[in-house]
């Protein structure tokens, strides 16, 4: 057994008081391919960001080759031989492929960047990842996502890593490229490089890694050699035992035949290569969940229905009418009104520096105006109603919305949309980063809306929430609905297995 090349001792990290990593002891060895598994929010990203010098731990220490290290910035980690390929690509779109591959340490001649040597170097590295088809002089923005990812890999290789971190590095790759990356990792393993492999694709992890570690809720649960545990055991480790949240009671399930006409029906929805033929229907009075791991097309689906994406293909029927609204403004004011509670409340949901009142009214100015002017009396009444309905805890409606807590900010977003009296409510992970109490209020509100005949499409990265709130859950994988769970099938184990696109019964 070789000594660990990277070792964590009691590392903790908090974001605004929320635990991301808690006293983590973790190590990985040279010449191994180490898979890191965990649910969304288990702490995997934080783990590697600390290693790569992007974040600094709040407590604990990290050892590299047995010596304590602390990286002030990504370059320091790279200089020490820790090279990371992030999910969000670290390529500069307006620079050429060759520029990007040698970005921080280019070959030089007379102190200046030697472009010819740089192109030659890029060609050599691209050949190593079998991407001779990529022109080193092309700009990165001209390349498709899968090509960019291969450039990212070539760039990482060029830095002579001792530790190579791949965070979802294969998510956009073609099958041929995936094989190339596998071969490459095997080659690096033979050379004594430690690879940390983070992937949501269970069969990849299974095929590639020799060691596996499971994380859950910011804790390192267990590390074991591949083959020591069955897939079923691994899934169980990932779930653990969570405290059950309180969910409002669900109505008795309605058999599919008796549901009547859907308010929203989607068939073969496709967009770029993120959505690849989604079929879905939501009836009045129903809460349909969108499950699956992050980034499988859930967000794009909601954006498409809200008129944000261009060139969406597929048949969509909303309230008996064909077609997708052309813009959020059209979605909001059509005959069947649609509301979207967006992914990032700070940038897409709220105007942070503006008063709570203005934020609440932002989607419904037409309803409270007389002619071109806002009617102050009606505006005040609408604001008061909104604050009361969602029990938003505020000092004054004229305070900037950023003075509120996260939970109350999210309530403002929801209240804003309820003011237009929507028929279809799209929710993009509305409970992320907010407190338990507010979460429960949101659950209750969702059920009230459904009982009032609204159709609700609800994406959540928290499986417990999907199980507790939804009448049905469609699990997305690779831009497609791979499984639909309802009733007794709606279990955490079933959802996770479907998310990873594996069949637990067969395992």
């Amino acid at each position: 057994m070789s000594q660990p090349i990277v070792e964590y001792r009691g590392i903790s990290k908090y974001f605004a008081g929320v635990r991301a990593l808690e006293k983590v002891d973790f190590s990985c060895r040279a010449g191994s391919i180490h898979g890191v598994l965990g649910e969304n929010g288990a702490g995997k990203s934080t783990l590697i960001k600390i290693m790569a010098g992007v974040l600094r731990p709040d407590a604990g220490e990290m050892l590299l080759d047995g010596r304590p290290v602390s990286f002030a910035e990504p370059q320091a980690a790279a200089d020490a031989g820790i090279v990371c390929m992030f999910q969000e690509l670290s390529l500069v779109p307006d620079l050429s492929v060759a520029d990007n591959i040698s970005i921080a340490r280019p070959p030089r001649r007379f102190g200046l960047i030697d472009r010819r040597a740089q192109v030659a170097r890029a060609e050599a590295l691209l050949a190593r990842v079998r991407c001779e088809d990529i022109d080193p002089n092309a700009l990165v923005r001209e390349l498709s996502l899968s090509r960019r990812q291969m450039v990212e890999i070539a760039k990482a290789l060029g830095r002579d890593p001792k530790v190579l971190i791949l965070d979802e590095a294969t998510s956009a790759l073609t099958a041929r490229d995936v094989q190339t990356v596998y071969d490459l990792l095997a080659e690096l393993k033979a050379q004594g490089v430690a690879s940390l492999f983070i992937s949501h694709r269970m069969h990849e992890v299974d095929q590639l890694c020799d060691t596996l570690s499971v994380f859950r809720n910011g804790r390192h649960i267990e590390t074991f050699a591949k083959g020591d545990k069955s897939e079923r055991d691994i899934v169980r480790l990932m779930i653990g035992r969570d405290v059950e949240a309180q969910f409002p009671p669900k109505p008795a399930p309605v058999p599919a035949a008796e549901r009547g006409a859907p308010l929203l029906s989607v068939q073969g929805l496709a967009w770029q290569n993120r959505l690849n033929g989604i079929d879905l229907a939501v009836h009045p009075g129903e809460i349909v969940g969108l499950g699956g791991l992050d980034g499988q097309g859930q967000k794009e689906l909601l954006l498409a229905l809200f008129g944000v994406l261009r060139d969406v293909e597929g048949a969509v029927v909303i309230g008996g009418r064909k077609g997708i609204p052309g813009s959020p403004a059209a979605a909001r004011s059509g005959r069947t009104r649609i509301a979207l509670v967006p992914e990032d409340r700070k940038t897409e949901g709220l105007m942070l520096a503006m008063p709570i009142a203005d934020n609440l009214l932002a989607a419904s100015f037409a309803r409270i105006s007389r002619g071109p002017f806002i009617d102050p009396a009606r505006a005040r009444k609408a604001v008061d109603d909104g604050i009361e309905r969602l029990r938003i805890k505020t000092g004054s409606a004229s305070d900037p919305v950023m003075t509120l807590s996260g939970g109350n900010q999210q309530k403002v977003v929801i209240a804003k949309w309820l003011m237009i009296d929507p028929d279809i409510v799209l929710l993009n992970d509305p409970t992320r980063g907010i407190d338990v109490g507010t979460k429960q209020e949101i659950y209750r509100l969702m059920r009230e809306l459904a009982n009032a005949g609204k159709a609700i499409l609800f994406y959540s990265s928290d499986y417990a929430e999907l199980i507790g709130c939804c009448d049905r859950v469609s699990v997305l994988y690779g831009g497609r609905v791979v499984s639909e769970k309802e009733g007794d099938q709606l279990t955490e184990e079933g959802l996770i297995a479907a998310s990873l696109n594996i069949d637990v019964e067969a395992a």
Binding site: V54, E73, P74, Q75, A78, F86, E88, L89, S90, L91, V92, P93, D94, L95, D99, N100, I103, A104, P106, G111, L112, I113, R115, D135, N137, A138, L139, W271, Q272, L303, V308, L309, R310, D311, S327, E348
Partner: protein
């Protein structure tokens, strides 16, 4: 197979290529319409009128590439113009000293801008609005009233043709050497602008710092994650802007033999520099373009104004027409947004 190099270049530099084509076309037509077109005298006059704005446009380019704006470039040009009008005279050694001092002053001012932006964490546009006013204030202290004295020989030599330069300083057989013949009619201002570009801009673009400037404008997060020296590049960008602005100020002093702390002139140069940068095909969002493109943009602006003299158009129409040309030119840049698939990207 990879695309041929010229095709790739054209694809990646469409804005610059169309600006260059526009410039060549309008300058050719201008010379055909001009009674003394295609002569050295006209070229010299045109080059003289273009040099200062060309330098200021180059100065503006670098902060713009980074995704910022430098509102002090015109003011720094004015300040250095006043400094030059005070010092660029006397013995040859004193003249050289005066020129170096002028350039250093502008460079130092740019460095101060960079330090304020990086360590003061102030947005470039507001930081340079303030420092621009300071530069004008300093210029007024140096030269409360227009005037000054710049060495006459130098003024003559640098604002005429290459032959005149050689003749003034008795170089190359007084300008008659056989090897100078092919270059004798080229305007000196053009030579100076090209020299500064080749000696300063080209190496900068090929340094890690220069590349970092592009990377910051293109995707600052990715630049940071890739370990690029962001603070250094920002400071260097403003410093270099100061240097180029000083080149403009020095040239203006040599050309006019005087200095003038003119607030309105400074403002006009700053705004025209932004117009020239955009006309050349550099993106105001950063990451795309370059100083050479801005030279072309500055030249387009100037050639448009030349037309007013030969076509007998009311000069009062000049701002209107310049505005229309600018608007049409930048409209082409907006075509790109029609291809965006996720409308949220338009707001990022």
């Amino acid at each position: 197979m990879h695309q041929p190099a010229w095709k790739r270049w054209l694809q990646q530099n469409l804005g610059f290529a169309s600006a260059l084509l526009l410039l060549l076309t309008i300058y050719l037509v201008y010379n055909m319409l001009h009674p003394r077109g295609f002569s050295s005298a006209v070229a010299v006059q045109n080059a003289n009128e273009t040099a200062a704005i060309a330098f200021v446009a180059m100065a503006q380019t670098i902060p713009v590439l980074m995704g910022g704006l430098d509102l002090s470039v015109g003011a720094v040009m004015t300040l250095t113009n006043c400094i030059a009008s005070e010092f660029v005279n006397g013995s040859p050694a004193e003249i050289v000293f005066g020129m170096i001092a002028t350039l250093l002053a502008g460079t130092a001012f740019g460095l101060a801008n960079g330090l304020i932006v990086v360590y003061g964490r102030i947005q470039p546009i507001i930081a340079t609005l303030a420092t621009g006013a300071i530069a004008i204030g300093l210029a007024l202290i140096v030269r409360p009233k227009p005037g000054g004295d710049v060495d006459g020989d130098l003024g003559w030599a640098l604002t005429n043709s290459v032959w005149d330069f050689a003749d003034t300083y008795g170089l190359a057989d007084g300008g008659d050497a056989w090897w100078l013949r092919p270059f004798a009619d080229i305007p000196m201002p053009l030579i100076i602008v090209i020299l500064v570009t080749v000696l300063v801009w080209v190496p900068f673009r090929r340094s890690v710092t220069g590349r970092t400037v592009y990377a910051i404008g293109s995707a600052e997060g990715a630049a940071f994650m890739s370990g690029l020296p962001i603070a250094r590049a920002k400071i260097a960008a403003f410093t270099l802007a100061g240097f180029f602005a000083a080149c403009g100020g020095l040239y203006l002093a040599i050309q006019t033999s005087s200095g003038n702390a003119d607030l309105q002139q400074a403002g006009a140069y700053t705004l025209n520099s932004i117009a020239a940068v955009v006309l050349g095909g550099t993106s105001l969002l950063g990451g795309i373009g370059g100083a050479v493109a801005s030279l072309v943009g500055a030249a387009i602006l100037r050639v448009i104004s030349f037309y007013f003299r030969i076509l007998d158009i009311d000069p009062l129409l000049q701002p209107l027409i310049e505005g229309l040309v600018l608007l049409i030119a930048v409209s082409f840049g907006a075509i790109r947004t029609l291809r965006v698939k996720n409308k949220l990207d338009l707001f990022r």
